[in-house]
Subunit: 253 residues, 4 copies
Amino acid sequence: MIKELEKVELSNPVLIEGLPGLGLVGKIAIRHLVRQLKAQKFAYIYSPHFPYFVLVSKKGNVRLLRGTFYFWKNRNGKSDLILFTGDSQAQTIEGQYEISDYILKFAKQHDVKMIITIGGYRMEAKEKPKVIAAATNRDLLNKTLKTGAEISPTGSPIVGTAGLILGLSHFKRIDALCLLGETRGYLPDPKSARSVLEVLQSLLDFNANLAGLDEEIAKADKMVTRLQKIEEKRALEAEETRKEEDKKVTYIS
Amino acid sequence: MIKELEKVELSNPVLIEGLPGLGLVGKIAIRHLVRQLKAQKFAYIYSPHFPYFVLVSKKGNVRLLRGTFYFWKNRNGKSDLILFTGDSQAQTIEGQYEISDYILKFAKQHDVKMIITIGGYRMEAKEKPKVIAAATNRDLLNKTLKTGAEISPTGSPIVGTAGLILGLSHFKRIDALCLLGETRGYLPDPKSARSVLEVLQSLLDFNANLAGLDEEIAKADKMVTRLQKIEEKRALEAEETRKEEDKKVTYIS
Amino acid sequence: MIKELEKVELSNPVLIEGLPGLGLVGKIAIRHLVRQLKAQKFAYIYSPHFPYFVLVSKKGNVRLLRGTFYFWKNRNGKSDLILFTGDSQAQTIEGQYEISDYILKFAKQHDVKMIITIGGYRMEAKEKPKVIAAATNRDLLNKTLKTGAEISPTGSPIVGTAGLILGLSHFKRIDALCLLGETRGYLPDPKSARSVLEVLQSLLDFNANLAGLDEEIAKADKMVTRLQKIEEKRALEAEETRKEEDKKVTYIS
Amino acid sequence: MIKELEKVELSNPVLIEGLPGLGLVGKIAIRHLVRQLKAQKFAYIYSPHFPYFVLVSKKGNVRLLRGTFYFWKNRNGKSDLILFTGDSQAQTIEGQYEISDYILKFAKQHDVKMIITIGGYRMEAKEKPKVIAAATNRDLLNKTLKTGAEISPTGSPIVGTAGLILGLSHFKRIDALCLLGETRGYLPDPKSARSVLEVLQSLLDFNANLAGLDEEIAKADKMVTRLQKIEEKRALEAEETRKEEDKKVTYIS
C-alpha cells in the first residue's frame, strides 16, 4: 500500500496534507509548496479505494492513481516538512478511514509531532478568503488564531481525509490542525489556497514565495468572470423569452 | 473499535439505546436521560462505517463521529443504567450489523440482562403520541403493555440499530424490548420522546423529570406551526396562479 | 451464519430453493409446498447482507431477516425434500455469491444430489404461464422438458440466487435445475407458481394439492383486473384532456 | 478464483487482454483472434465481483460469468500468445483492482514478459479509426508508434481493467502496452477492433486474417445507418411539430 522510494532522515518534521476537495484548495496549496521549495518525492500510497482508472503521464507512460509524500529539508534549523497530496480522495467510506490511517502510520514512523491538513470551506468570500481553523490541541489552535485565522463554528463538519486525520490523530498521539480556506468550491480556487499558505507560513516560519500563485489567481479570476458573463447572458435571454411569452398571453386574456 | 474510558462496576444494569432516526426520538430521549440523571461517559464506539467526516466541537476542537456509553448508578437499589447514543447510524448494511453486534458484546461484558432500544414509528399522532412495543420475551412485552404501550402490528419492520439489536440479542441470550414513539419523522420530535420516556419510567422505576422536555416541545411545536403556515401560503399562491391561468384559457375556448 | 435447529437424517434428499424475486414465484411455490406437505423447519441462514431491519412477528415478538430450511420425509420411499425460502435476496453482489455458497454447503452436508431453484421469467403469459428450464446436466434437462417445460433461450440471464446456485453447483458436484415461471413480475403471481409446481410434481412424484392455490390465484386475478380498470380509466381521462386541449387549440389557429 | 483446465508449457508468451468496454473493442478483437488462430481455453477466472447472474449457454445449460484464458502456440518460433476476455468487467472498485491483480499473477506464473491490453477511446473516428497507445516502457511505446499508432494525450484516463493492468504491472515487473481504438462507444465497433488488430499484427508478427471481420463491420455499418435514419426522421418530425406550434402561436400574438 505504501511504497517508499528512499529512506530519509528528517529533523522534527511537520506533515502537511492537501488532497483534492472543495475548490481544490488543499491540492493547489501543496502543489505550490512542492514547486517553490523544490521538495522531493520519497513515498507513494496506492489503494484499491481510489477510482479504477490510470492516468497517461508524460510521453505515453501510465500510472495508477496514488498519493505522494514529498520532503523538504529546512536549512534554517526549524522543522523539516513532509508534504502530501494525490490524485483523488478514496471513493468508499472504509477507504476514507483507511487512507487517513495510512497517512497517520507513515507520520508516526517518521516521528512527526504535528500534522496540518488543508481543505476548502464552502462560503462566498468577500475580497480575501478567510481561513477557518480547528485543532486537536488548544495551544496549537490559539497560536493559529493569532496568525489571522478564525475559529471554526461549533458543530461544523469537516468532510474527507482532512477531517478524518484530525479525528484519528488522537489515537496516534499526534497533534493536528486543520486549515480551511473559504471558497465557492466549484472551481479551482488558488486565491483561497494563498490565504491558507499565508497562515501556514506565519505558523511554520518558511518562505514559499506566494507571489508565484498570482498568475494562477489571475487566470482563475478570468475564468470566473467569463462564466459569470455566460450566466448573465443566459439569464437575460430567459427573461426576454419570458416577456415574449407574457405578451402573447396578454393578447389573449 | 470500543474505547473504554473507565472501568465501572454496575449492579444489574439495563442498557437503553437511542441513535438518530425517525424524528430523532431515540437520540432526544437518551440525551434527556443523560442530562437529568447526570449520567457519566465511560466508553466510545468508533467505526469506519460511520460517515467520513469529523465534527468541530466546542472551542475549535475536532472529533470523529462516534457512539457514547454513559452509566448511572441507581441509589434506590434498583437496576443501574447504561445509556447509549451517538452521532449517526452506520452507513452500510454490514456496518449496521457490526455496530449492533458491538453494542451487544459490550452489554454482555457488563452483564446486562435487558436491553431497551428506542426509535420512531412513522404515524401522524393524535394529540399525544402513542408508544409501540415489540420484545424478544413475552413477559417483558406484557409488562410493557400494562404501562400504556401498544403492541406492534405483525409484519411491521423495525429499521436500523434499534431493530437489529432485538434481532441479534437472541444469540447473546439477552432480553430486549423496542419502544417506538409515533412521529411524523421529518422534524425532531421531543413530544414523541416524552411518551417513550413515560413508558420507560413506569417500567424501570426511576425519575428523570420529564417536565424538562416541555420547553423543547414548545419550540418544536412553534417550528411545526411556522412550517404549516409557509406551506398553506404556498398552496394558496399555487391556487391563485391556477385560477389566473384558468381564466386565460376560458377566454380562448 | 447457519443455525441448525435439529439434526435430521434424510434419505436421498432433493433441495428446492425459492427466494423472493419476479412475481414472487419462487417464494409462493415453496410456501405452498411447506404448508401442503407440513414440512418442518430445521435450520436458518442469517447474513449481514440481508437488509438491515427486523420484522415484528406474531404477538409483538421480533426476528432478523433470514432464510429458512424445511424438511419433508417422503413416506413412499422416494427422495425426501429440503425446502428453502426466506424474507429477502442478499442486497450486495458479494452477499449474493455468499448466500448461494452457504446453501450449497448446507446441501453438501446433507448429501443432496440434486438442487432445483425456482424463479420468475419476465414474459406476458398467454392464459397458462409456461415454465422455462435450464440445468447443469443434460439428462436432468431432458427429463424436465418431457414434463412440459420449455428450454431457456441461449444467452438469457438468470438473475440472483436461483441463477448463482446453478453456476456454483458445479464446484460442489451437485446437479442443479432451474425452473422459471412466466410472469409479468410486478405483482405476486400464484398462477405462475402453480405452473412451476406442476412440473415439479411430475419430476419428483409427490402430491401437494395444487388446488389449494386456486383461491390465491382468484384473488390475484381480481387485483390485476382492478388495476387494469384503474389504468384504463386513467388513459381515458388523459385522452379526454387531450381532446379538450386540441379543441381549444383548434379554436385559436 | 482461477481454475486451470490444463497445464500448458508456453514459449516466451505475450498476454493480450480485452474485456467488454467502450464499443466492445477489446472483446471483439480477442474473440476474433481466438477464432482465427483456433486458440484453446486453458483457464477461467471466477469472482464475486462479477454481476450476480448466470447465463444460459447452448442447450439449456448454465454458467457463471467468468473470464477465460486461451493459448495459441506460434509455429514460427516467435512468442506464443495467451488471450484473455470475459463476460463483464468487475462491478466494484475493489473488484476492478482484484481482477487486474489476478490476471497479472496468472501472467507471472506463465512467465509472461509483456502484456497488451485493448480497449476503446471515445472519439468520433474519421473513416478509419486511429489507435491510441500508452505503455510502461519507452522502447515498447516507440516500437508501437512506428506501426502507425498515436501516442495518448497526457492526463488522459484509461478506465477499467485495461488501464489498471498497466498501472499494476510495474509491481510484477512485466512490461505493458495499452492499445485503444477510436470509437463512439455506444455500439459494438468491429472497425475499431480491426484497427487495433492491425497494430497488434505488425507488432507481434502473426496473421489472423482480418478480412474475416469485414462481414461484421458491414453489419455494424448497416446498424449505424439505420439508427441515423431513425434519428433524422425523429428530428424532422420534432421540427414539423415545432413549426406547427409556432404557426398557432403566430396567429395568436
